[in-house]
């Protein structure tokens, strides 16, 4: 500024000195006043004449455009509809300049920055790959190019650029964060962890690195470890909304929506404001996810719609809306299975069901179910059923269901319609109580019982509780009265512990005990006077793909134990099966499983195979 003032003073004495005036304009721009320099130049129009004048004009307009870009990065925006204002102002200057002089290096580089600010990532890449001298590019040009590669899901190219930056500017957080994200995108969690180590070495970035380490645990499918990490951070930094956000997401990913909702609402209470309008879309996305998980789909949809409208370029907001919409879409489901039970009787099953939502808290379904027996002697027990069902979740803590089924089989029996009702209480995230009652139903009965025209009235009660993120416990019991007078009572207790988690793998070990009692043994179907068993269970799940819109996993289930039937010797039993799951954005789900079990029936060992397929599609 001092130089400008001095030259302006000289200019009073030499008013015709164009070079002096031009230099004064450059001085003013260099002092940080490019708009004032333009005004000054226009007050001395000869400064803008000729090649030197054009060069001055381009320089000053470039400075003005650069200033808009910087404002775009730094300015708080209280109206999302105008988020692009500065980028657009910069582009309005830079694009014509670039068209006029495509070889102007500074314009090219600033244009790349403006595209990045406008989140026009394809344009960033096009400019970077075709027009930028990459070997000579400074860090502030490399950085947006790397961001664009990352945004366009080209993480390897992004990482290479971030590593270049990290060599040049290891003391700044941007390259390490870039490497971290690019590595996660490539599921290279060790590289992401190493980048966080470097980030944590930068003064002032320690907490950021610690928070991202929690996210890394979540991204690498170590949800429980991630939750514990965020809980430890929360004890140290209870006021930090980023820590609370981490806790909220960890809880949601663990299937604890209430806790997630509580934390997200605390984040929102700290980071949002109605007047002026200050928003925290990430926390709102998590909150909407929690509402969706709690069955409050109306509120979730309202939130998702608003987020997607306000932030149409935010992939997560758009994905949230899609996920919530998917849950409210009509569904068609097909199940097929083959299994052996009831002392070696094989049976194939088919089930087709269509359901449509009723409002946001209910669903009506209509279905058809059929079975085919392998043994011609029991064809009378084959099932052919039409069913109509209604399920409701009127409150977050309450789910209700009712179903009526009609016998369509052309068999010897005249069965009245069967009815079922189910009530589920969800008072807390980690506690669930199920109560079920069915009257005059037959499809769950063994084939031989169905072939005898029997029906049953049943009552069951289940309780599931998770003391913490590692343990799951279950208690269940029930009683049935079969129409032949047989009264059956059963009970089950099971416990399961998470023993290994991520990346890409999860394993549990558990134990369960079971006992049942039947009042009649002189019946055609398997009905032990009493029996009991104790088993160890194991489940391994490998996550083989986890990308936006596509998730694939493979699970192995094992169990081994001792089965003791009254009147027969106790013996070992066990089983194994594999299940593959494909989930395409929740819209199409395919489950395929196969396995076998070794079981004792009246002291006789049998190997029961089982194969099943589920297809679910939402429209």
């Amino acid at each position: 500024m001092g130089a400008f003032l001095d030259r302006r003073e000289l200019l009073r004495h030499r008013p015709g000195d164009v070079g002096l005036a031009r230099q004064a304009a450059y001085d003013l721009a260099a002092a940080g006043a490019p708009q004032a320099a333009l005004v000054f130049a226009e007050q001395h129009p000869e400064t803008l004449a000729g090649e030197a004048g054009e060069s001055l004009r381009q320089h000053l307009l470039g400075d003005v455009a650069a200033r808009h870009i910087r404002w775009g990065w730094n300015e708080p925006v209280l109206d999302p509809a105008r988020r692009r204002h500065e980028a657009e102002a910069a582009l309005a200057l830079l694009e014509p300049m670039h068209r006029r002089d495509p070889d102007h290096r500074r314009t090219r580089r600033d244009l790349l920055l403006a595209y990045r600010l406008a989140e026009r990532m394809e344009d960033v890449i096009a400019l970077w790959e075709r027009e930028i001298d990459r070997d000579a590019a400074p860090y502030w040009v490399i950085n947006p190019a790397a961001d664009a590669y990352l945004a366009l899901h080209r993480p390897a190219e992004a990482e290479a650029l971030y590593r270049t930056l990290a060599e040049e500017r290891p003391e700044t957080p941007q390259p390490w964060l870039g490497i971290y994200w690019a590595a996660i995108e490539q599921r290279d969690f060790d590289a992401a962890d190493a980048a966080l180590d470097r980030l944590a070495e930068i003064p002032g970035q320690e907490l950021t690195a610690a928070i991202q380490r929690g996210w890394l645990l979540l991204f690498s499918e170590r949800t429980v470890a991630g939750l514990e990490h965020f809980e430890a951070l929360f004890a140290e930094h209870p006021g930090d909304p980023r820590v609370r956000s981490g806790l909220a997401s960890a809880a949601l990913w663990l299937g604890w929506p209430r806790r997630s909702l509580e934390q997200s609402e605390q984040v929102l209470a700290r980071t949002t404001l109605a007047e002026p309008w200050v928003d925290a879309p990430s926390a709102r996305i998590t909150r909407a996810g929690a509402l969706s998980a709690l069955g409050d789909l109306g509120a979730a949809r309202w939130e998702a719609e608003e987020l997607a409208t306000l932030y149409p370029d935010n992939l997560h907001a758009v994905r949230l809306r899609r996920d919530v919409d998917t849950r409210l879409d009509p569904e068609v489901r097909f199940d097929a299975r083959y299994e052996t039970s009831d002392r070696g009787l094989g049976e194939g099953w088919g089930h087709l069901e269509a359901s449509v939502p009723v409002g946001t808290r209910g669903r009506v379904a209509a279905g058809y179910r059929t079975s085919v027996s392998e043994d011609d002697r029991h064809v009378a027990g084959e099932v052919e059923i039409a069913a109509l069902a209604l399920s409701l979740q009127p409150r977050r803590w309450l789910a209700l269901g009712a179903e009526v089924e009609w016998d369509l089989a052309d068999g010897p029996f005249e069965r009245d319609p069967g009815a079922r009702a189910r009530l589920t209480l969800l008072p807390r995230d980690r506690l669930r109580v199920d109560l079920g009652y069915s009257a005059d139903t037959w499809r769950e009965l063994p084939l031989r019982a169905r072939a005898a025209g029997l029906v049953a009235d049943s009552f069951d009660l289940g309780l599931a509780y998770q003391p913490d993120a590692y343990w799951e416990t279950r208690l269940a019991g029930g009683r049935s009265e079969v129409s032949d007078g047989n009264e059956r009572t059963w009970g089950l207790a099971a416990v399961q512990r998470l023993v290994r988690e991520g990346p890409g793998y999860r394993a549990t070990l558990g134990a369960e005990v079971y006992a049942s009692d039947n009042s009649r043994t002189d019946v055609p179907y398997f009905s032990p006077e009493s029996d009991r068993s104790a088993s160890l269970t194991h489940r391994s799940t490998w996550l083989t793909a986890n990308e936006p819109g596509h998730r694939r996993s493979l699970s192995l289930f094992l169990h081994a134990g001792v089965y003791d039937q009254e009147g027969f010797d106790a013996g070992a039993v066990g089983g194994a099966w594999l299940e593959a799951d494909w989930d395409f954005a929740g819209r199409t789900v395919v489950v395929l499983g196969a396995g076998a079990r070794s079981q004792l029936y009246d002291g006789q060992r049998e190997l029961d195979p089982r194969v099943y397929l589920t297809l679910r599609r939402r429209f």
Partner: protein, 528 residues
Amino acid sequence: MLRAGLFRAASPPTAWWAAVLLFVGLAATPAFATQAGAATPRAQSGGSPPVGSPPGGSPDSGSPAGGSPASGLVPAPLAFAWGVVAEPAEEGSLAPGGVAEHLEFLQAHGWPVVLPGEAAAAVTGHAPVVVLTFDDPASAHRYVLPLLDLYRLPAVVTVGPGQAADPALAAVLQELAASEWVELAPRVEAAETTGAAERVPRCAPAGAAGDAARDDIERLRRSLAGQVERLRALTGRAPRSVAWEPGTWSGAGERVAARLGLAVQLPTFTGTPPVLEPALGPLGGWGRVPRHRLPPGAGIWALVQGAARWDPQDHPVRFVALDAAAICSGGAAERTGRVLAVVDRLDLNGLLLRAGDAPGVAAGDVAAVAAAARHAGVRQVMLEVPADAARAAALTRAVRPDVVLLPAAADLGGVAAATEDGGIAVVAGGEVADAVRDAYPAVRLAVRDPAANGAFTLAPSAPGRSPVRGLTVAAASSGALDPEAANAEAAVRAAAGWHWIGLPLDLAETALVRSPHALAAFALPKGP
């Protein structure tokens, strides 16, 4: 349809292996199954473009980068105050380029820049009306005046008593006054008042507070008259506005200024500037334009936040509440030490001084606690005053709180009124309200909610905005201090949109013996 019942009649136990895993869905749902809304990483960890953003980029979704402030800005007039401009910028000063950037930002975004006397008429409702003020005439003359000339922007250069009397500045002031873009105005500095807030706390009845206030006003009258006369002599024009340094502005001071022909008041605020109401009373009619003092190195954030009357550090407000006994217990060091310990552990940004029921506590003692808390980072001080208007005014004058919590409506004869939705609307009027606003016109009023113990409602921060609700959580449960219950209550209130939430000092001390985690609902992020 319904999930298959738990009953598998006549099946051996191993038929349960499928049923067991399906049972209640817990086991069947892999823990790493993603949920709607918890979809992917980057949204969850702070916004979509965090990667390698250019320095200064703001990845946090709460403050998305890019764009122009169009909503949330308050169109009411606002002044910005710059200090010394120097090249190269030294500590405490701003470079000319920084000022130029501010001015270019205002122009680029269409904020009308006017002189103080034109501010009220310029309000259109679309953009904030801005008055530019510079407090260092010498640097304003050298660096700012050429910029004003090029940008064609008017500005006020304020002149303190020392600057007005400095012979070396006489020529500068004359040249500034000669510019078509500059208007000179006197500036009242803190040294001209007795400054009750700076007195040593003594915890005894305030004896001659009324005399001290009268002395302050007389001293102000003499000083300001001298400044006005000096500026008139130097420039040949009488100033029309007056700037007030923090801690100097009052209703009584305004009346002094008005009698000297200074029609527009420019009180200075270092934090978020309030929206000021027009002055009331027989001398009313002059304008009030709050000045937002821009700290050295301030970027455009400071402009936008000032115009929006929003600073993230003020939202939400979590405060510690001191009753009269706590204000006046033990020595000065002890009572401030207790407050500061709690403020520091929980990073609180608010303080409630319940001086209303303590007739024996001197205003200076209350002010000393407030000053210490402010020094420790507290940004919002709320003062609960008694129904005695004179006492309320004395306390307000000494503390200069951000908010005054009036006594219950029943004691004030209609200061508060219930709204249709069951809330409380603050209604202007009432002797106490008038007294405190005369003592410190920038104060924001709040009233007790008669329907809820500890709850109160603050007047809107700006026209068109909603009242803000707050409360002090219950200190005790079943007769004992219960941090867990207090924390739970605070969490519920926060989620319900209550913005000011505080806890009593003794409760905070009890809980912090355990851990700050016990009061997580009150804890705020560490400040910058």
